[in-house]
Symmetry: C5
Subunit: 263 residues, 5 copies
């Protein structure tokens, strides 16, 4: 099971490869912070044949994975997550940000069409759109100020994705009532802002969802408390679907994913 020295060397070389293209990468910061960007969560399972191949073959295929990801990073922002061992839904998760869903489709077509992709089974694809905050402009100034306190720096190894579908009743409420409930919701989440980083995607029409909520944390217990707090506010019963699936995994670089899969 342990890689030979030669193989370890092969993995290291692979991990060092195509570093150059990263320089020409898409304006990742913009894609990850601006409104009007499409975020896609694509979860895949590795097929039974993957593990049955010898390591040299797997490394050859991971080289293809690396090439495909690096090549598309010029246009889209790609994040990787290891779900295997924590989630029963899939093994790998890609989060892709793009200004056009066609670019995301092209990346996933190349990923699935490549040598590594032959071993991938699609478990879930969910799309959302980043938008300017809906309710925040009407929040009290103190709350607005509190929201500006961002999460503490440092690595946040865990990522969780919770898709949400609101009930028809929710959309039937007038904007004021929804705003009041979202204010309560936001206030209840404040204590966790420091340790749990969040990002919201609007999905209506793009999938059978209304929202995709994305979280990163190093303290899963705080994340648990945050969701528990969310379940206790008045807005919560208006969720017709909350999770199903909840995807939980660890944030990994492309090279870390390759190392795990090469072993």
């Amino acid at each position: 099971m342990r890689p030979s020295i030669f193989m370890r060397f092969a993995v290291l070389v692979l991990v060092g490869l195509v570093l150059v293209s990263a320089v020409e990468a898409a304006d990742r910061d913009k894609l990850l912070s601006e409104p009007g960007v499409y975020g896609t969560f694509a979860a895949f399972s590795l097929d039974a044949d993957w593990e049955k191949q010898d390591q040299a073959m797997r490394i050859a295929q991971l080289t293809v994975l690396k090439g495909v990801v690096e090549q598309h990073r010029e246009k889209v922002a790609i994040d990787l997550y290891l779900l295997r061992g924590l989630s029963d839904h899939a093994d790998l998760l890609f989060r892709i940000h793009a200004t056009e869903l066609r670019e995301t489709q092209q990346f996933l077509l190349d990923l699935q069409g490549g040598l590594f992709g032959k071993h991938l089974t699609t478990a879930a694809i969910m799309h959302g759109l980043t938008k300017k905050a809906n309710y925040v402009p009407a929040f009290p100034d103190q709350l607005k100020a509190d929201l500006k306190i961002h999460s503490e720096p440092g690595p946040k190894p865990y990522a969780i994705v919770i898709p949400i579908r609101k009930s028809a009743d929710w959309w039937g409420l007038d904007q004021d009532k929804r705003a009041a409930m979202m204010q309560e919701h936001t206030e209840a989440s404040l204590p966790y802002n420091k340790t749990v980083k969040r990002k919201l995607y609007h999905s209506t029409g793009l999938d059978d969802l209304d929202f995709i909520t994305y979280f990163e944390t190093s303290k899963l217990e705080d994340f648990h408390s945050l969701i528990l707090a969310m379940e206790k506010v008045k807005e919560f019963p208006y969720n017709r679907r909350f999770g199903h699936p909840t995807l939980i995994g660890t944030v990994k670089s492309l090279d870390e994913i390759i190392e795990v899969l090469a072993q």
Copy 2:
């Protein structure tokens, strides 16, 4: 992974083939615009063996696909969509318009029975019927006039299919109440008429649905806003099923599909 020059040539020849038969094609315009036409949405996944074949074999099979589609275009109107990379439900979607479902069945039998069809797994088949507008005749004149403004010309690369099942309560309402709600629904959709093209199919009895709604757009953000607007009108809670699945993909010509699958 890159096709050799020979293969590229083979694809080009394939793409150019059987252009002649297109001349004798079914009266596509009539099938796509008149009432009393059956619209079938047939979504397929490619099996795991497809990608494992070499390119020459895949091109041979795609030639068969091309032949089957061109042959049936004499009787039925066939549109193709690439779902792979955007949808976790299927890889390919065929939309077929026919005056008799038997003709659609014959096309799909030939498609599935051919060399390419051996690699297709049926993901979903949904049928609907085009009918004259139900509620429009009773709409105010201004609304009728507004509805005549059609979507802007130009390519609309994205297509979305949302199946709908109404609740028993909806059908229990009298025609006036339903008409009033459909008027509100229609008015709320007006702002998106220019950028989102729509088509409605009546499915009751032909499938476990009441309607299939079909959309084309180049601006997915507008489409998202349209569906969000639809969720806020009084008719929305009468949907027992909305989506599940929502199919999202890109509009492709037969030749474009062949190019993607040949690579």
Copy 3:
């Protein structure tokens, strides 16, 4: 893909075979018209290996199918339907009428145990019992008379099967209330009696259903209008399950099925 002349000949011979046994067939008319008969709907998918066999092998296996069906026709009435291309649930549907479910089981055991049966995957088996009309005796004379007008003769190529489960509320109503609603239901269906043929099976206890409704028509648009009319009567909200699956296909003789599958 086209069968050679030899193969065409083989299919023709096969189609002509065992015609003799049809003479000794079960009293099909009685089984199809009397109460106290069990009707079974057994839907099967063909496995991926079926299409991968050469035609001679397929013809050999279809000969076995023909033999099994003809042999059992002495005891049970067997109808065949081609679902492939119209339904995503299955490829073939058998409707079997028998005075004892054991005889149906014996037929399906022989079908599945034979060379052709190795390629069949069971998609659904539903059982129902024919009974004398429940509510009709209390209907007004005019309605009774109207019900005696049978559907027009001539081929009805389409068949649709809709399983139904009533809610607990339905069975909790007293017989009078149910009868009044069934009268409204029946009156609403009258306009479609000429073009849509129907048959009702009572399933309670034999499956997770209360009824199986079976339809034949040459005018699918009329069938669509019939079901739409049924959705608007007061009895409809008492259906907890209506369809799921709705099976739609074309009525075929055994020989027609063999021809389609041999090609």
Copy 4:
């Protein structure tokens, strides 16, 4: 498809084997009649490879099945049912009665671990406990007397298993209200006592069920009428799940099962 004379002989010898151990069998009567016994319903499907083996191989594997069943009959009571051809959920059903679930587990481990077991896929395992009648002691004397009339002797070839989950509302009712409803339920079932044999298992906590109801009959029409009568009493709406799956099959001896599977 027909077994050769040699094979028929082999089946007969197999069927005659290990008769001795039946003498030392578990006290079957006690296990089938007393309270405090665990009843397990284990349904299996045969895999696609089963039918593809030649008959000699299948007979060798059925010999192993016979050995495993006979060996465990010293400790547990085992009944077999053929679901294939009548149920789309599974091919074979084992009903096992034991004083400890560990003994049932050991039997099923040996069954699945043996040569025949390699072809079995578990479709469902449900457990229940026999208990003294809950509500009967408080029933009127006449009803108690009526309940003592047992079903008519003679073969009852059909068996049906219906799992039941009560709603939370049911358990929230006080004992008197539940008893009154169970009395109505019991009175409504009386007319079918002669032709439909019943047995009740309590499942709460052992599975996602509250009860497993087991029926044997030679008159399926009576069984249908019985369940229809049950759907009309006040207790019925308190069932959150009734069936799903309803398992229907024929009662078979081990030797009959072997004969069917050997052919």
Copy 5:
């Protein structure tokens, strides 16, 4: 089917192996008793190939299983359960306690990546967190004292896992109302404290659950009565999901699991 003497010897040697590393094991007692620990329930099915291998190959692979488990026991607490024969959801269940979910992930990655892991299909992964008792501090003193009576010593061969999702209504209740209901719930469970051992995990956010309840007992009838008592208290209707799946199996040591799988 019976292992040869050599193989029995091989199993015994295997079972005796790596006993040393157990000495350096994680502080199992602390992990199993303290709050702030993550408990993961990972259920796996063995694939169809497992049984088809000869015994020597299976023993070689079980040696790898043993190595992986013993190696990780230095960091995480690992318990094993045999579900096969009692549950239709999976064959094996691992319960892992760790202070960080990353350590659990690493164990499961090594398990799945090893020679034995190639035969495992993930059936379910559920996570929960141990926390200090929520409602107990406000309970009356007598109840607090009663709760200190622990279950009787001695082996408890059966283990049951019931995941729970509360309704939105539950979380909308104020703490007092929830506390009163949990007091009734706790009082109703007291009679079973001696024979049924329990442990609670808080899952909100970590999975599509709110709680995972874990039980051990030697008296399944008492466990059945306990759950029945729980269904009758006022808190029960606030469970939106209770079970689904209910996992039931037997507690086994690693060596016992190896013996069962080696045979």
